[in-house]
Every structure is written in C-alpha cells, then in structure tokens.
Amino acid sequence: MPRSVRSSDSTSVGTDGQAALSVRGLEIGLPAGMERANAVTGISFDLLKGKILCIIGESGSGKSVTANAIMGLLPKAISVRAGEIRLGDAEIVGMPDEALRSLRGRAVSMIFQDPLSALNPLMTVGAQVDEVMAAHDVGTRATRRSRSLELLTEVGLPEPAQMLHRYPFQLSGGQRQRVMIAMALALEPTVLLADEPTTALDVTTQAQILKLIREIQRRKGMSIVFVTHDFGVVAEIADHVVVMEKGHIVEQGTAEQVLKSPQAPYTRRLIAAVPHLTATDRVPIEVARREPVLVCEGLMKTYGGGRSLLDKVLPGKVLPGMFLGQKKSVRAVDDVSFSLGAGRTLGIVGESGSGKSTVGRLLTRLLDSDGGRILFEGRDVATLSEAEFRPLRPKIQMIFQDPFASLNPRSTIGTSLTVGPVAHGTPYAKAAEEARALLAHVGLDAGAFDRYPHEFSGGQRQRIGIARALMFKPKVLVADEAVSALDVSIQAQILALLDRIQRETGVSMIFITHDLRVASQICDEIAVMQKGRIVELGPPSQIFLDPQSAYTRELVAAIPGE
C-alpha cells in the first residue's frame, strides 16, 4: 500500500500518543465517470482520546465517505487508493475482512442519519442490541439481556424492560436514535463514528440527543468522530473541527479557532452563510394594497377516524370488544387563523407532526379542509368545488421541498415550466418566452430551457421550482420547506432570491419550515405550530426575544449554536 503522508497540515502528526484514531494521506478513489477522480484526496487528521472531532462540509465534500472508510464500510466501487487509517495499533486500510469485522461494533462503532431505516423493521429492539454482543461472542443470552437493559437505561429510554420487546416503528425518532446509540455503546468501543446523527430529528429532539452524546462521551472518555453539515451542531459539541470541501481538508483546528477565527476563505463563507436568529424585524415592502390577500379563519383538518365500510355495513354496537378497534383520528390542523398582507411573508414553524405542511396543502387546496374559511382576496375558497377553484389555482402557487422529486425527470425544464400556463390558456410561444425570461431572472442561463432536471444541482433545481411557481404571476407563494434540502451556502442564495422576487413582484408568501433560524431571516411574522394549533403568532422580535408560550421558548432554546 503506497503511503503519502503529508505533514503540511495536522496539529499532532505522529508525535502525539494520545490519538485514538489517525488518518494519514487518505485518498479514496471514485469510479470512472464521476464528477471527480477521488472522493477524498490526501486528508490527514487525528482524533484525540476523549475528544469529539467534528468533520463538517457540504454535500459532496467527502465527509461521509471518510467516516465509512474508517469503518471499512466503503461500497465495492469505491476504494482506498493510498494512505493509512490507524485505530489504536491496528491499520484499517488493507485489513482482511474477518479482522475488520471483529473490530466493527467492538473497537469502533457507528450511528447513522436516519434511525428508522437504520434499524431492521422485523426485529425487536432487544434482539438488535443483543446482536452486537452475540456477533462478537460476548456473554451468554442472560448476561447479554441484562447488559441490554443497562444500555437502554443508560441512553435514557423509558421502561427499558418493555422497550426490549418493542419494534422500531413503535418508537419516536429520538427514541430510535437512542436505540442506535445503545447498540453502538454495547461493547464500549474506543471510537464512535456519528454520521449526521441528528439531521433527521426535530430541533428539540436534536438538542436532547446532542446532550446525550456529550454526556456519554464525558462519562466513558470515548473518542467521537461527528460528521455534520451544521455549524450550529459543531458549536454545541465539537472539541476539534475538520472542514472539508470537495474531498480536501481546507482547515482544521480546535472548535474555538475554527469558529471564532476561521482562516480558510471557504470556512469563512460557510460560517457566514449559516442562518442565525435575527431578532430584528424585516423592513416591510411597500405595496399599494392595504387589505390582506389571504385570511384563514378557524381552519380545521382531521385525518383518519372516518367510518370504514365495515362500520357502515355493521354499526359498531352490533360487534363487541375486539371488532371495535376504533381508528385513531388526528387533528392535524386545529382552529388555525391568520392573515397575510400583500407583499408580506408569514412563517409557519413547527416540528414534524405539528400540522404545518397540512396548512400549506389546505391553502393550495391539495387537501380539502373540514372546517373554517380560507378567504383569498375576500372570497371564501375553502368551499369552492374543484372546477370553481381551478381558475384561482394559478394565483396560489407552491414551491416544494425536494427539488429532485418535484420535477418530472423525463420533461425538459421548458416543458415543466410551460405546461401549466398552456393548460390555463396561454399560447405556447408566449409561455416559452416568459419561461426563458424567468429562468434568467432566477439566475439560470437561457440554455436551461432545453435541458433536463438531472443536469442541474439541487440549488439550481430549486431555482427552477421557483421559476415554475412564478410562471403564473401568483398572488401567494406557499413554500413548504423550500430550502431544507439545500446546503447552507445554497440556502442563503435561495433565501436572497425569494426576498428579491418578493420586493420586485409584491407577492405574498407562506414560508413553512422546521428551522426557526431560516424563518427569522425571511419572515415578517411567524406562527409557531404545535399539535395542529398555532401556539404563538408574532414578529420575529417577539418570537425570539420575548416568546409568550412555553413551547416557543423550548424551541428557541433548542436551536444549536445560538
């Protein structure tokens, strides 16, 4: 194995015996035809004993590949071309499979981003925790069981004895990640790799999991590599930081150094792009119209709980006990009222299951409401039939979260942009002309019109999504987590674009997000939702400086890095 140790970087190459994990000159090749030859090139860093090292970078920076290489879990098509990864006395690179297997889970273990898909849906929590120990021939069935109980207690799961018999789908997101952590801790590994372990979690859950990881790390003196894209998380948890860009380490140092006085221009740009809580209210846009564009009054939506065919055929009374298992009904939206002025942005903020997305779908009539009124320019559109609402559809447009899934992969951008207006009666030539103009307006070149979605990056696709919504010259834009899937630097650009468009066109916007920081950047007013209800509604200054409800206070406190 060729070695190419670069001594230009790193704080403690070779001399410091305190490293639990050392990576030297690591080069990981990508298959031919990818956008670059190597996933990572010449990276070197040390994970010191009892410390947390954060690897931060945007998508495609090579941070996850690095973590997988340390586990010896790279896909077959990707291989380590040069360098070394030393875990204690063991060299991971080139280690035979069986030796690697014996290290995994015992000396080094890993937790992943999505704790639902990372757990086997058909195995109980107990069986999955047991499996780590069984795989390494540790203990007997009975001792492993008591150890499992101990672990589940340690990671703060309620009723650990019952928890052993639960299946992953019966647990909340935070509980699943706790199970993953319990599994990773089972054999007390020296190194824990955490690959974006809180990215899929709600902000309050994220705060709890970060706290748990920090506590366990301190108690056991464990060494952790924590991969993340979020500088807020870095600020919460890191001792040392490695910043990666396109497969290279552009900067590394203590958390203090990197966060407070970043040296590399890339780090500076990245930190500058991180959305922060803005407690100053936005300067309102001058608009001629004074009366609100959109008013919601007592909006209601209940999911499930409807009578099934069976109930209609055989009324509930006839059937005793077991047959009566009433379907659970969920009030997704419960008495939601707000008003949106012309050229204003209302943020709807909440955690998963708060009903924020349902509100967006009710406003665009993608779902029918069960009660309440939606007044669009003074007219109640909630009760209109589909045919009656159709002429109004262009006026209320939606921007979706996933810029990959919301564009038809088989249609050119031009087709995607023009098909709507043409269906509403615009001649194709005129629609095409407007589409080209809009594409230029959102910052894409005119050639984009004839290209396909896969030729664009995530940020570019979201620009296309915005252009598509603007094709109709809407009065209201409903943006559902429109920047959540994007890297922070792209996020900042898209937010700036939305702001510019709003100032130019005077369009009103409903901005749905789970991220209070982002909401504070772009919203005139913010509605905080919890369990279907708006618990607080006010300008960012009130929400962040003087929150009225306990839940808002909790949310604000949970924001990482603030």
């Binding site: 586990m71 879990l73 995994r104 015992r106 898909s117 757990l119 086997n120 058909l122 795989a135 069976l310």
Partner: protein
C-alpha cells in the same frame, strides 16, 4: 386483526357474487347451450328437446335461472353434472386430489428453486450465474408450457424411456412410488414458469433489501456476512414474496389446465376444459366458484401471514 379479517370476509363475499354473476351471464350468452348437441340427433324430436328444456329450467329467463342457481348454492346444493347426473361437488372432489398433488408439488419446487436462484443472483449480481438465471427465466417465460411438456415427453419418455408420458398412475400398480414416478415430469414442467417468475421477484426483493440502511448497520455492528444475508436481507426480502405467493395461486390453476391436458392428468384443469366442451354448465360454474374461492382464500391467507410476520402490521 379480527376486524381486518371480518372486513376482508365481507369484501370477499361481494367479490364472489360479482364473479358468479359475470360467469353465469357469459355462459348464458354463449350460443347453443347444453341441448344444442341433441339438435341433430334423429332420436330426439323438437318436442323432446322442449320437454328437456322445461325439465332443466332452461326456458326461464337468465336472471331467474341465476337466482335459482345461487339460492341453491347458498344452501349447499351445487347442482348435478348435465353429463351423468353426478353431484358437482363430487365431480370436483374427484379431480381436486389430482390437481392438488400436481399443484402442490410444483409449487414447492417453484418456491424452493426460485428463492434459491433469486438469492444467489442478487448476492452475485452480474456474475455468470446471474446472467444465466436471467436468460433462463426469459426462455421459460417466453416459451409456452405445452412446448416444454411435449419436449419433456419426447426426451424423457420416448427417447430415454425414464418417465411415463402421461396419466397419474399405472393401472394395476398405483403404489406411492408409481404416483411419484408419474408426477415428476408434469410437476417440473408446471413449475418452470413459476421458478422463472419467482426467481426474478426474489432477486429484486433481495436487491432492495441489500441496499437498506439496516444492512449497513448490521455490518457496522460486526455481524458476520452470512448472518446478515440470512437474517437481515432474506428476512426482509421474503415479506413481499408472501403476497406474491397469494397472487400466483390462480396462475398455477390455469397453468395446470395446459399441463394436465398435455400429460392427460385427471385434474381440475382437464375437468374444466371438458365440461366447457360439453356445455356442462353446472360443473363449469362450480369450478368457477371453486377457483374464485381458492384465489380469494389464497390472497387472504397471504395477507394474514404477512400481518403475522410483519410487526408493523401485526401490532399497528
């Protein structure tokens, strides 16, 4: 669970009524009918035929005949064969054993071989074995069953003389070994198509499961590859296959029709074919209802098994 079962049973009852109406109406619309074969019989006068019609209730409007038939069926009276007056249920029972023997053995072969091929193809994706399995499946699916049957008879019965060319047993022998001897060729031929289908689905299900995150988790835990494959991958891949097994039941029945004809196997497929030829409507309707029940039951059983195996459904 009982709520789910009750719902499904009600659905199934509705489905059975729909199937019976459609089947009865189609049979009623076919020109000719059970008595047309006597039209040219010099021994029967027009009056005789008219009298027979009256006796068999054929002069009544179709809807009345249907209601009469359905009412009797509900009370357990499946009617009698127009050919020899044997009760329909007896006729069906007589042929059912033969079909079950053939279907059962070919299903076992198909599931076992298909699962094995699917697993091996998926774990050795793009290997020589995988390509061979792909081509083999394509061949098995594109060539009709009767051709395989005929080639099988030609090679193994005529040329090699290893296996009998047809029938279920040798008259005068009828030992277990003799039955098995007769069973080999038809059950292998019948299973061919199903091995092809099953192995393709299994391969896809395996590839889906292999790429799941929890497989990576198992690897990160240091679980041995063999256990990862058997416990995590195959376990999850088999779930969708249970549903497929339920859906495949009817195609095994229809497959049996051709195979039974080629191998003169005295099963339900042959009975159905012959009864249609004789316009023996009570038997045809009987088989139709029987197959509908089998299909519905097959799906129901598959759903119940999935619900029992998958905790997400069992405990939800």
């Amino acid at each position: 669970m009982s709520r789910f079962l009750l719902g499904r049973l009600i659905q199934s009852a509705i489905l059975l009524v729909v199937v019976s109406v459609i089947g009865y109406v189609i049979l009623g619309l076919i020109p000719g009918g059970p008595l047309s074969q006597f039209g040219l019989d010099p021994g029967l006068t027009a009056a005789d035929i008219e009298r027979l019609k009256e006796q068999m209730g054929l002069n009544q409007p179709l809807w009345m005949r249907y209601l009469d038939w359905a009412w009797k069926l509900l009370h357990g009276d499946w009617g009698v064969s127009l050919r020899d007056g044997t009760p329909v249920l007896t006729v069906i029972a007589r042929h059912l054993v033969a079909t079950l023997l053939l279907m059962g053995s070919s299903t076992v072969i198909a599931v076992a071989a298909g699962t094995w091929i699917g697993i091996r193809s998926a774990t050795r994706r793009y290997s020589a074995f995988d390509y061979a399995a792909t081509v083999g499946a394509m061949v098995a699916l594109s060539i009709p069953t009767f051709w395989f049957g005929l080639v099988g008879i030609y090679v193994f019965s005529l040329k090699l003389g290893w296996l009998p060319a047809g029938n279920m047993y040798t008259i005068g022998d009828a030992s277990v070994l003799d039955y098995l001897h007769h069973l080999i060729l038809p059950s292998l031929v019948l299973s061919l198509v199903h091995i092809a289908v099953w192995s393709r689905y299994m391969r896809t299900a395996m590839l889906d499961a292999i790429n799941q995150d929890f497989v990576k988790t198992a690897r990160a835990k240091g679980v041995a590859e063999r256990r990862i494959l058997m416990k995590h991958v195959v376990g999850n891949a088999l779930l969708p296959m249970i549903t497929l097994a339920g859906v495949q039941l009817p195609s095994i029945l229809t497959g049996a029709l051709v195979t039974e004809t080629v191998f003169t196997w005295p099963g339900m497929g042959r009975l159905f074919y012959d009864s249609l030829g004789y316009s023996d409507y009570p038997v045809v309707m009987g088989i139709l209802m029987f197959s509908a029940i089998v299909v519905i039951l097959g799906n129901l059983i598959a759903d119940v098994v999935v619900a029992l195996v998958d905790p997400r459904i069992r405990l939800a």
